[in-house]
Symmetry: C2
Subunit: 229 residues, 2 copies
């Protein structure tokens, strides 16, 4: 899957979150990293070039810090200009493509709820993006939210790295697909490491788990197919 990451951040170079995400994505070959505020400091987009980038991608990701419960201005400049229907060139065909969001917030995610500090959920604040996906026929994917990145422990950051890489390279968030992905990544890594035997053990255990999961799924399907008497 080819993924286009459209990043809106007026202060990209000073963002620890964005630096971490960029490092996490570096080893992924099918990912295009596109920082709007750096490519277009004056926010005047090259409409034709942008539409070609969209056309080449299977998944488009809007990646931004939550500013005023929306995205920074550069993403709106992109939307206003690149997706405008008045331009002589026809809009790209979005059907079959996915729209993902990677949104970082300075506030604890728990605060996004009725009666709490931010009053509404992030699903509610991000409705306009759901509307956009619907409008242009993109498949809207559950956003990946990164809250208070600087407070994350090392372990939480490693978990985020995996989740983020999966978000960029997998079409869905299903458990079985994520599990298979982990096994493949481990198999690649194992060749370049000293702890090969130990890792081979972990992979075997994961594969056994995977078979067990498949068995369970089959049993469940069988049970569903047999009516009770």
């Amino acid at each position: 899957m080819r993924t286009l990451v459209v990043i809106a951040h007026p202060d990209y170079d000073n963002s620890g979150t964005q630096a971490f995400l960029q490092a996490s994505a570096q080893s992924l070959s099918q990912v295009t990293w596109h920082i709007l505020d750096q490519v277009y400091p004056d926010l005047h987009m090259d409409i034709i070039a942008e539409r070609q980038l969209i056309q080449q991608a299977d998944q488009i990701i809007f990646q931004f810090p939550l500013y005023w419960y929306s995205a920074p201005a550069s993403l709106y400049a992109w939307l206003d200009q690149v997706l405008q229907t008045k331009h002589e060139e026809t809009l790209p065909d979005f059907s079959g493509k996915i729209l993902g969001l990677v949104v970082s917030t300075g506030t604890d995610q728990k605060q996004f709820a009725a009666g709490r500090q931010e009053q509404f959920t992030l699903s509610e604040y991000l409705r306009p993006f759901e509307g956009i996906a619907r409008k242009v026929n993109l498949q809207y994917r559950a956003p990946l939210i990164i809250s208070q990145f600087s407070y994350l422990s090392e372990q939480q950051k490693m978990h985020l790295l995996i989740t983020y890489q999966q978000y960029l390279t997998l079409k869905t968030d299903h458990f079985a697909q994520r599990q298979t992905w982990l096994i493949q990544r481990l198999q690649t890594l194992v060749k370049n490491t000293e702890a090969e035997s130990q890792l081979t053990g972990i992979i075997a255990a994961l594969e056994a788990n995977q078979e067990h999961l498949t068995d369970l799924t089959e049993t469940l399907q069988m049970l569903k197919g047999e009516p009770y008497e």
Copy 2:
């Protein structure tokens, strides 16, 4: 009440809706008309000047066409720059001020509902603005929505003109206050018109209605005060 109308529209000069609203506001002395895309074509705001405008207003109105279920980029540039907390100057004190929205849509307002074309209500799509008001301590006012302006009849346009003038000059949308406002406007107009006697009759009828309304309110309050036996 002093009202600052902050307008975001990348094609302001070609908008029939905006031309109509500008003409409607022209006779109002306490209204500051502020077209972001014309004052700042490069979207680099004068933060200090903008904060002074805010400080002088009792009501701030964001006026824009709904682009991608949000405002055009210039409003986000304004929010990102003018309301940023990193700037050395302190933010204006928003307490006691009102935030209003005047939003025009190309789609019929009925389509903003579950199961209809736009899926969600405008209240839902505009949540980020409710969040902004809450965040900076502005009082959020129910938005004035203008749907499919070009399809409005002459009578509907006259009604919009009145509603819009009231939105800019009154603090609330209560019926009694709007009625009083109408009487005052008529009394001013009557002096410059030929149909003076006819209009005087209309004003008398409206004033009688107003008294009737006051009577009704008082009766209701009296009834509420007396417990049933």
